[in-house]
Symmetry: C2
Amino acid sequence: MKREYLQYVAARREQVEAALDRYTSGLDAPPRLVEAMRYSLLAGGKRLRPILVLAASELFGLDAADAMPCACAIEMIHTYSLIHDDLPCMDDDELRRGRPTCHVVYGEAMAVLAGDALLTQAFGLMAEQAGVARVGPARTARAALELAQAAGAAGMIGGQVEDLAWEGRQADEAQLRRIHSLKTGALFCAAVRMGGILAGAGEGDLDRLGRYAAHFGLAFQIWDDVLDVVGDAALTGKGVGSDARQEKSTYVSLHGVDGARERAYAAVRQALGELEPFGRDAWVLRALAESVVDRVA
Amino acid sequence: MKREYLQYVAARREQVEAALDRYTSGLDAPPRLVEAMRYSLLAGGKRLRPILVLAASELFGLDAADAMPCACAIEMIHTYSLIHDDLPCMDDDELRRGRPTCHVVYGEAMAVLAGDALLTQAFGLMAEQAGVARVGPARTARAALELAQAAGAAGMIGGQVEDLAWEGRQADEAQLRRIHSLKTGALFCAAVRMGGILAGAGEGDLDRLGRYAAHFGLAFQIWDDVLDVVGDAALTGKGVGSDARQEKSTYVSLHGVDGARERAYAAVRQALGELEPFGRDAWVLRALAESVVDRVA
């Protein structure tokens, strides 16, 4: 099973990489803008969100290829948010995945615009998704609405605003959870729900997928905090202990490393619990959730 | 006719204002973020782009109310682009329509995020547009694709990149036209084409509308340059002569005030020429183009 899973993830990741490359090749746009977009978009990464879209689509019988525009759209949204979050006026990060951030290489103006362009193209891809015959415009419109809500003021962007508001102060666990559920959880939820919507899944199943993703996102975030303390800087691509230096509240600062680990495992168990009604068919989503803990980067 | 036109524009503007207010009220998002979004979105303005959407829809028999989500979407795109263009790392403007710009009031981070949120919500509105029964998701998806292309790397954002690249150097007329056709013209074209698409207009008519808007946008931009020299600062909301101080190429610096005026009139005549096959029904689009020249702000 482990091997089957690794093969699945490797295959989908390769398809996503190829599609992201294709969607940003031959754009009739200023070359340096396209370069900045591609610098951040094609910088590797786990491609977790697009793979969640594809795995959820496949669970309900849609071919991965038929959900590819939507899968790439969510990765473009994720990438734009990293570019803008790294800006000097925000988190002021100079390193991302071990490479200089977009604004360090291309300047602030270009980083703002490259982010804007990726955000815009994400919804252009959603419009193209409507043209996939086995999906159609009605399902796609609903998926696009999910994406806009998850990525917008009431979701990811709102989370970044709240995160910035807590800078230099210690958030308690409820606040920390809220920030993460907006900053990270909302896009995870949108990913699996969009995959389900494109494939025609029913309401009950969509809600179940959403709960799965909420637990998944929480586990993901807790594990990030654990890695920040015990991780290998070469693998995480940022300095070990950078959260502590910024005096940010984390699950580790609130519960210690072992307490945080326990909470991550518990969140994964809850995620897996939501998948039970889907039986063996949900093996990819199950393995994805399990892979979040114990990862080293 | 003049009175009928002024009444039409006043009525549509009021409807657009009310819809923009409604779409950004009661958002489940950080209050200060919503405030920053609304500060820039509800700052008045001519609402030219949404009115172009509505007028084009009505020309082909769709009620204005049925195109309102799309009309507001394009205004949100326009507003986000102003917020981001005003940032210190871009044009570094502190005044817009006579008021302090978004980042001056709310800080840079919030201005970036408010812009991102408006851009995201624009496409959320396009997804809602799909739910309007007389329009439907297929036409809406096509309109959303037009919007994404016009606003993205190959359109408006690309234009801003080229504009920044020419800073401090004198662009020639061909380059100036290219920058303006991307920065301003692309959204004007998208506005009328989206209106037509939502209403089910045919390909030939859409192309004609697009050409109308290209001439319209050129006239609009030339007249902006004229106003910068001869205008009243209290009306334009920026200092008279600010272009010259920034050593930017303008139609006035290339052709003088009278030469620029002549070119604006010629562009309006060309815009009107494109409307001829539509006959009397196109009276609003005709009056809109005529109103662009001789305006004082």
